[in-house]
């Protein structure tokens, strides 16, 4: 080797707000996954057991879920699921070498955030 290698660029900006879209989609995919594991899985199982188990349980949750504050929390979980869903589909496509180029990967990461928001708004509109 005759040419000296250039020093590698270092870029340690750990502020999430400054992450490029694919990085942000990635860390939100991870955080949403963790929150879907806990508390969402046991909550989902508990609500299913309660609502399927008895008429009283169904009526209790129906009343509880009509509270605006509870609806907002539910929509929070809907958004976590929606983001995890769309970001996951993006990863499946990347695995198949679809949209690997920098420009398309950045565009698809922004699309993931847009679709997550739209899906949450649609389900919110249906809930209210």
């Amino acid at each position: 080797m005759t040419t000296a290698t250039k020093p590698r660029p270092k870029y340690y900006d750990l502020n999430l707000a400054n992450l490029p879209a694919p990085g942000l989609a990635s860390i939100v995919h991870r955080i949403s996954g963790a929150l879907l594991f806990l508390p969402a899985i046991p909550l989902l199982l508990y609500v299913m057991q309660s609502t399927l188990g008895s008429e009283a349980g169904w009526l209790h949750w129906k009343r509880f879920l009509s509270e605006p504050a509870v609806k907002v929390i539910l929509l929070g979980f809907v958004w976590l699921y929606a983001h995890h869903f769309f970001a996951g589909i993006r990863y499946l496509l990347l695995d198949l070498h679809v949209g690997v180029a920098k420009a398309s990967a950045q565009a698809s990461a922004k699309l993931v955030f847009a679709l997550g928001a739209v899906a949450t708004l649609l389900i919110g509109w249906r809930l209210w």
Binding site: R30, G33, A34, L36, F37, I41, P42, L45, M48, Q49, T51, L52, G53, S54, E55, W58, L59, Y81, F85, G88, I89, L92, D95, R126
Partner: protein
């Protein structure tokens, strides 16, 4: 010859988990679209509606398949997170054991919800 002994680490060790993580994702994505469509077409208005929705053989089996996929997917995902951030071996194994135990418990719980009534 001992220097060439194979250790159960390195290439291909995680391939099955990697592949199953994607397969379970596809199963859950399909179920999500299916259940959303079902709930939009037949919005359950009463406890009887809600109960009958999950008493049909197809929906019950599809839901069980969803839970199986979800719990395995959660195992791989949470294990990845633990491996990335928790370095002390004892703590890491302890957390993994806790998560695994919880997931097995959730599996039994989901079977009892779907069949135990």
């Amino acid at each position: 010859m001992k220097a060439y002994a194979k250790h159960p680490v390195g290439a291909h060790y995680g391939l099955a988990a990697w592949l199953l993580q994607r397969l379970t994702a596809v199963v859950m994505a399909a179920y999500t679209v299916f259940l959303l469509a079902l709930l939009l077409w037949y919005p359950p208005a009463s406890h009887a509606d809600w109960k009958s929705l999950f008493s049909g053989a197809f929906v019950r089996l599809a839901t069980m398949l969803f839970f199986l996929a979800l719990l395995y997917h959660a195992w791989v995902g949470v294990r990845d997170i633990i491996m990335d951030y928790v370095k002390p071996t004892g703590l890491r194994l302890g957390l993994q054991a806790l998560v695994g135990t919880a997931l097995v418990f959730y599996l039994v719980w989901s079977v009892s919800i779907l069949w135990g009534r």
